[in-house]
């Protein structure tokens, strides 16, 4: 083994690479010698938190990942679920938090690019994206800049690559001031028997590098950026952020789908985090083979790159293919047609070793399996935060009842978290590929399924991504149950049957027992919800170290649900489409105000227990909604979420296609305090509208879903009154709509008017 350069590895250098003394000792044992510098780089990324899931693995193992429809659970690029007629969907959500905080446009863009590659590397054509975003308060100019940059990045990449962005959620809270969250979801469709996996099988088969050339960008993105806390000096890590090229990605999608339709390949994998290193190790490990590779054959963007840089670069838009022997020329021909590099860089070997040469010398020789097998699994200490119980204390009796419900409703509609997100999603192509039945702005997106040859099917997929971080902070178990329940409920509101979940678990520093406790509680909640709802967790991602200068984010376990609707032409919308419909409220309203938007906004309190979730009720609700839609009795279904019933009814009035505004008259039986009735956030509730309320009430009774008729659609006002006395709220819908629509623009336009530039903000 010859040293590739002057750098001599020792424990000190290993520590600088984020490895512990124990881990370094393990490396010495595996190799039987001191690692070379490139080898140290490989171990540091393969065993980083980001790649090895060392802190989270213990808990992720407890999630239900199997089901009769599940074709692929966690472990590959993404999860795969059968949707019938020989088709499957492949989907996953992934974080790109730290890069987006440092460089919002490129960070978010490459987040989209990365998740797309996870999907099409399995053979699926990506058809729909969602994004879950969290920022600090918009009165902070830096966060206005970050919001603009992230939206620009997501749109710039997604629009150019030709994949519709059909939904998502965006929230604002002070806890994200030092660490925003950018979680990107994508879903693709594939023939179920044509799902590709990242396997380097067949000794002697060529290993082919395709896509963009390798440059010096993103080196140590996974180990240094994603696996450590932020500090004031993190700006210096900006060079670890990659730069995206959606045009190359678009060509790569087409070329990869073309080559995967042939019998030329045996395996394919995205070069994502840790680039060439991670993809080659994982491909060899899955097939119990080895790989020998010559780095001089790797297409390079610049001269003089070292083996260390070539192995650890996270340059975007690259894939690693293992082809059948003799297929090299045909594979190259396809990629050349799309003007992409394709180079044979190595072969599959039988000896289970990763042997990498550079300039005629062997610079890396590591046994493949021990790297994966000996990857550290930690059982980090847990501790319930000392102030957890205090946070949960809320005496409703000592809380002044809302004395101006109309003003409260306006304040809620004007808040950035509840206000219209049209400013964001109008910058995204929501329509490309021609499948968007329901786009952003409703409970769930609904996307019709076509086969790869363009033949439309009778199926559509409903997609939603959700989390209430305040609830998760107040009670990580219940909060995560609620996140899963809400995303499944949103999907069910279209009439679709929820099939499976994916999740992006955004947490602070796992080395702190309090954070690890939150994580353990959250995964326990996710497992419970997934089991009860029959929706296995088929893929996911963990993002730790979301804290800056010791200020942690609230636990934010973002959950995305995917549902199936068939035939797709029968679906419910989340707005009132016409006058004269009966309005029903499903579910029970309990005396719950803990963790509510109303409490935070009108009383300045983040306290109490979040609303409980009755998972058995949720499951019954799914069945009822699907039947109601199928029979045609159910026209509108809108989940009652943040802001409670008053906000849900307002949204039903103006969240339809532009220009469609339908008011309503609602009467509530005054059994509880009025702020609970109007703004309480009890879960499992849905506002539905129907032309056949009697039939729907009968169905609800049969299915065991509480349902009560509360009013009728019509008029140009939102009117909510107690059964006796003057209305609590009687407001022109146009006024409410204008407040809601202006919530984001009014906070962003001031900068645009004065032309604030990035340099002035930072």
């Amino acid at each position: 083994m010859s040293q590739s350069n002057e750098i001599v590895v020792d424990l000190q250098l290993a520590r600088e690479h984020g490895l512990t003394e124990q881990e370094y000792a393990c490396i010495l044992e595996i190799l039987g010698r001191v690692p070379t510098f490139p080898e140290l780089g490989i171990f540091s990324v393969m065993w980083s938190e980001h790649c090895s899931y060392k802190s989270s693995k213990k808990y992720l193992r407890t999630l239900p990942t199997e089901g009769e429809r599940v074709l692929q659970g966690p472990g590959e690029g993404a999860g795969a679920v059968a949707i019938g007629d020989g088709l499957a969907v492949i989907f996953k959500i992934e974080s790109h938090n730290h890069p987006s905080f440092l460089e919002p446009k490129q960070g978010a863009a490459t987040g989209v690019g990365g998740i797309l590659r996870d999907i099409f590397s399995m053979g699926a054509r990506p058809i729909a994206s969602l994004d879950a975003l969290r920022f600090g308060p918009l009165d902070d100019p830096r966060h206005r800049h970050l919001l603009r940059g992230v939206v620009d990045g997501i749109g710039g990449y997604g629009n150019a690559v030709g994949v519709a962005t059909v939904g998502g959620e965006t929230g604002f809270h002070d806890c994200y001031r030092g660490n925003i969250l950018v979680n990107a979801f994508n879903l693709g469709v594939v023939e179920a028997d044509r799902i590709w996996r990242g396997k380097a099988s067949g000794v002697g088969n060529p290993v082919i590098y395709v896509g963009s050339k390798t440059g010096r960008d993103g080196i140590h993105g996974a180990s240094l950026l994603a696996s450590a806390e932020f500090s004031e000096g993190s700006e210096a890590k900006r060079p670890t952020v990659q730069v995206g090229d959606p045009f190359t990605e678009k060509c790569l999608i087409e070329a990869c789908l073309e080559v995967m339709a042939t019998d030329l390949l045996v395996g394919i994998q995205d070069m994502g985090a840790a680039g060439l290193t991670c993809s080659s190790f994982e491909m060899a490990s899955r097939a119990s083979t080895g790989i020998e590779m010559d780095l001089d054959l790797v297409p390079q963007r610049e001269a003089g790159m070292t083996p260390y840089e070539l192995l650890l670069s996270e340059s975007q838009e690259r894939m690693l293919l293992v082809a059948r022997t003799g297929a090299e020329a045909k594979v190259k021909e396809i990629f050349e047609r799309w003007e992409l590099d394709a180079a044979v860089v190595g072969r599959v070997t039988a000896d289970g070793r990763m042997r990498i040469r550079w300039h005629g010398k062997t610079v890396v020789e590591i046994p493949v399996d021990p790297v994966a097998e000996n990857a550290p699994v930690l059982d980090r200490p847990l501790r319930e935060p000392a102030e957890q119980r205090a946070r949960q204390r809320l005496e409703l009796g000592q809380l002044a009842v809302e004395d101006n419900p109309a003003a409260a409703l306006e304040a809620l509609l004007d808040s950035p978290t509840l206000g219209s997100k049209a400013w964001i999603y109008r910058q995204y192509d929501q329509l490309v590929q021609g499948n968007t039945v329901l786009g952003p702005g409703g409970d769930a997106a609904l996307v019709r399924v076509k086969r790869e040859d363009g033949t439309p099917t009778s199926k559509a997929l409903a997609l939603s991504v959700d989390c209430n971080p305040r609830w998760c902070w107040l009670d990580p178990y219940e909060g995560t149950v609620a996140a899963a329940a809400e995303s499944a409920r949103n999907v069910a509101c279209t009439g679709a049957r929820p099939l499976a979940l994916t999740n992006c678990l955004n947490f602070a520093n796992p080395e702190k027992p309090e954070v690890m406790w939150q994580f353990a509680e959250a995964t326990r909640g996710l497992a419970a919800a997934a089991r009860a709802l029959g929706t296995p967790v088929v893929s996911g991602n963990v993002s730790f170290y979301n804290e800056t200068a010791g200020r942690p984010i609230y636990p934010t376990p973002t959950v995305a649900a995917v549902g199936l609707l068939e035939p797709w032409e029968r679906f419910a919308v989340s707005h009132f489409p016409e006058e004269g419909l009966a309005i029903l409220l499903l579910g029970e309203t309990r005396e719950e105000l803990g963790g509510s938007e109303w409490l935070a906004l009108r009383r300045g309190l983040e306290a109490g227990l979040p609303p409980r979730v009755d998972l058995a009720h949720e499951a019954r609700l799914h069945v009822f909604l699907a039947e109601g839609v199928r029979t045609g009795a159910l026209v509108t279904a809108h989940d009652v979420a943040s802001g409670g019933l008053a906000v849900a009814l307002a949204e039903c009035g103006f969240a339809g296609p532009r220009g469609v505004r339908v008011g309503c008259e609602v009467t509530l039986h005054q059994s509880l305090r009025l702020d609970v009735l109007l703004f309480g956030e009890s879960t499992g509730r849905v506002v539905v509208a129907s032309r056949e309320p009697e039939a729907l009430l009968v169905l609800a009774q049969e299915r065991g879903v509480p349902a009560v008729r509360i009013g009728t659609t019509g008029g140009s006002s939102l009117r909510i009154a107690p059964s006796r006395g003057t209305p609590w709220i009687d407001a022109p819908l146009a006024r409410l709509a204008s407040i809601w629509e202006r919530a984001l623009p009014r906070r962003l336009e001031t900068d645009e008017a004065v032309g604030l530039l990035r340099s002035e903000v930072l």
Partner: protein, 233 residues
Amino acid sequence: MFAVVQFPGSNDDRDMHFALKSVLGAPASLVWHKAAQLPPDTRAVLLPGGFSYGDYLRCGAMARFSPIMAAVRRFVEAGGFVLGTCNGFQILCEAGLLPGALVRNRDLHFVCDFVYVRVERADTAFTSRAHPDQLLRLPIKHGEGCYFASSELLAALEAKGQIVLRYATPDGAIVPAANPNGSVGNIAGIVNEAGNVFGLMPHPEHAVEPALGGTDGRTILGSLLDRVKREAV
């Protein structure tokens, strides 16, 4: 036969093909940009939306040099019908097959939304299924759809009746509030002097199915289909 040209980076190509073939029942095929010739039975050429060559230079500035564009130019000179939507419109302007230019939207943001356009000319090959002043509800999705023309050019376009579509309010008013991108004169689509080349920023191919954006796009694509059929008789 309708030839839908595929540039690298086109991304509404398959959608246009789907709209023509599967929805309108027109014979259509995808033609790769490297082809030197259009298929011999080509009756109309469609330049689809997308980001040809990534649009890293001006939109459409690279695509105009693709080999197929020489064939498209010959086709136009021979009187053939060409329709460019969005990026296709940008390519036609860059290629000089349509006058004027498309620049960054007024507010600098990409915009995806449904808009109304008023049919100013119902006697073109691309709008014969419409009646004058008919309003069409069509989606737009572009970052550089602000049509620019000098005042002389604008006057000439008006005089020669080359302005086919204008952004309008839902009740048909041509006012600044209805203009999504800052285009001069609310222009959404124009034809060349000969009337055989049409460029528009809205996407008719994304408005051909009732539950997926409505069917107003059929008015445009169907008009072209009618015309091609008539010529074939």
